[in-house]
């Protein structure tokens, strides 16, 4: 189950995000880490230190690419320059799969640099799936789409978020990067049962799982990636791997980043749940 066509039949374990404050620690201490996730856009450049660091990391570690601005759900055309640069990076890293978000963020060539929520309509699902196929065919690696945290819902939506996710991945025949923290955040912001969401996801399409922390405000929760993972999110993670089996798992920590050890220790807590889960069990 975990090694499937959506993660290129790999069997990755627990990884963490490669972040600048940890570069020195990683390169000098060479800690044992199963794999690192990089933000693709940070390395889609012509030269300089970021690529030099990446090349050194690639000599010793496995790297998976995660993007933040492909905007599969934007109604406009795909940015060819973006695609070309992304493909160059895919060749450099040898990433087994590429992920980005099920969202939109650009209109008429103007970028918001945010992960804006989709209206859950059949038209949007069709457009999004078409773009995912286009990107996958161009990059020649499997693509996984990640569910985002959201703070707003549209009147025009014709289905739930999980129904929309299913509609898109079936049409695109792509994988899912299941972010259980995002499911938790959105469930609190939109009053739905997160387990209903988890139980509705096609387990055989889950290529990877994200876990993270968030921030609570008086009237809503924000996906800030600046705290440890809370227990309710671990419970969702537990359920997700009960269904999908051992799956490549990544802890996101992007703001107020603590020491490397603290981030890695937090990620390795996932082992508690993985140990209790039999390989390849889908429920």
């Amino acid at each position: 189950m975990p090694a499937n066509r959506f993660n290129n039949f790999t069997d990755y374990g627990i990884g963490i995000g490669l972040r600048a404050p940890h570069y020195d620690h990683i390169l000098t201490r060479k800690p044992v880490v199963d794999w690192f996730e990089i933000i693709s856009e940070n390395f889609m450049i012509d030269g300089g230190r970021p690529l030099h660091i990446l090349d050194q990391i690639l000599e010793q570690y496995r790297v998976v690419q995660h993007g933040v601005s492909m905007y599969f759900g934007s109604a406009g055309r795909t940015d060819r320059e973006h695609l070309r640069r992304l493909k160059d990076l895919v060749k450099r890293t040898g990433t087994p799969w590429v992920s980005d978000h099920l969202c939109w963020g650009s209109v008429d060539g103007r970028y918001t640099h945010d992960l804006l929520p989709m209206p859950y309509t059949f038209e949007a699902a069709k457009i999004t799936a078409q773009k995912i196929r286009e990107v996958r065919d161009f990059l020649e690696v499997p693509v996984a789409v990640e569910n985002v945290s959201s703070y707003a819902e549209y009147h025009v939506s014709e289905m739930t978020e999980w129904e929309f996710l299913n509609e898109v991945v079936e049409r695109a025949d792509c994988g899912i990067l299941l972010d259980v923290n995002n499911i938790y955040v959105s469930s609190r912001n939109h009053n739905f049962d997160p387990l209903t969401y988890i139980n509705s996801v096609p387990a055989d399409r889950v290529a990877q799982i994200h876990i993270a922390g968030h921030s609570k405000f008086q009237k809503y929760i924000l996906d800030t990636h600046d705290h440890p993972v809370i227990d309710p999110v671990w419970k969702l993670y537990d359920r997700a791997i009960q269904r999908a089996g051992h799956t490549a798992t990544l802890l996101e920590w992007d703001d107020s980043i603590p020491s490397f050890e603290e981030v890695h220790d937090e990620a390795l807590k996932a082992n508690r749940f993985l140990a209790e889960t039999q390989l390849g069990v889908a429920v």
Binding site: M44, D46, G48, R49, H52, R110, P119, E153, H155
Partner: protein, 311 residues
């Protein structure tokens, strides 16, 4: 309503400037009440109105892009002051929103925009423009392309008057009217130590930077912003060096570049050969030269540039 129509409408609201109190404006993009505008697209819930839900994205957008500008242009921020810098960035980003998939390019049009909108920098016009140019050069030098460098030996082997040399794409040449390099280094050094400094130390440093900006006198300098061992450096160069490197950058032969470099030079004719030799040796050691690619016969440069345009 189509996906494209919804996204256009929501993006207009998300990218509309915030109020002074960093809230969403009460009047929407097309002059109608924002409450009605938001309610047309967004559902309310038991805790938040449609307006409040859309406002979360509106605020996130501006917090993100303004933080990115402050990170990229700390020198300009020091020159203008925090409040004026923030107001200027809001005006700039309203007229020139990001057109790139990466925030790295957010300030790409800032110098041009400031030249067209000089009121934002009216008190320190030249100083501000010089600082923007330096900070943008800093960004480009940091991650610009590096081609395989020619070594000093390569230069000796191929020395000929009609030889062409290209300057590495990551080397940026600047003619400036203020010594903004020192000022920027001071500002950046202050930023680097902020985490470890007490509030009192930060306050003193801020006052010191403000005093320094106020006192900074014009003094023409020539700079090469370049990269060595993956760190960016500001290297002051002579006017002749600047002319020579600029000429090489535009594809002139070495012979022609040298002629241009000494057109208005005060360097005595007898010293020029040694001057050139020393300069070339230094630049070769720094890895600034690469051999230009030979043009492929029949290659149409227009078609080539069309391929790399945004699709």
């Amino acid at each position: 309503m189509s996906l494209a129509a919804i996204q256009k409408a929501v993006a207009l609201a998300v990218m509309q400037p915030l109020t002074r109190n960093e809230r969403m404006q009460r009047v929407g993009p097309r002059g109608e009440k924002m409450q009605a505008y938001a309610a047309r697209y967004m559902k309310p819930n038991d805790r938040l109105t449609s307006f409040e839900r859309l406002e979360i994205y509106n605020r996130q957008y501006w917090f993100r892009v303004l933080a990115s500008m402050a990170e990229d242009f700390p020198g300009l921020r020091a020159v203008l002051g925090g409040q004026r810098f923030d107001s200027m960035c809001k005006a700039y980003l309203t007229e020139c929103p990001s057109r790139s998939f990466t925030l790295r390019n957010l300030g790409a049009r800032l110098e041009t925009w400031l030249r067209q909108n000089p009121t934002w920098i009216r008190d320190r016009h030249m100083l501000a423009l010089d600082m923007v140019r330096l900070e943008w050069a800093d960004i480009e030098a940091f991650d610009g392309l590096a081609k395989p460098a020619l070594r000093s030996e390569d230069l000796r082997e191929t020395a000929a008057p009609n030889l062409q040399l290209s300057i590495q794409p990551y080397v940026r040449l600047l003619e400036l009217r203020y010594p903004v390099d020192d000022l920027l280094l001071e500002v950046k050094h202050g930023d680097e130590t902020l985490d470890f400094a007490s509030n009192a130390v930060q306050e003193r440093r801020k006052r010191s930077t403000v005093r320094r900006v106020a006192k900074l006198e014009p003094a023409q300098i020539f700079l090469a912003v370049h990269r060595l061992d993956f760190s960016v450096y500001f290297r002051r160069i002579e006017p002749e060096d600047f002319s020579l490197l600029s000429a090489l950058q535009t594809g002139k032969t070495i012979e022609r570049a040298i002629q241009l470099a000494f057109r208005k030079s005060t360097v005595p004719a007898a010293d020029r050969a040694a001057f050139v030799q020393h300069s070339f040796q230094t630049w070769a050691t720094l890895g600034w030269f690469y051999r230009p690619e030979e043009k492929v016969r029949g290659e149409n440069p227009r078609e080539k540039s069309k391929d790399t345009n945004h699709g």
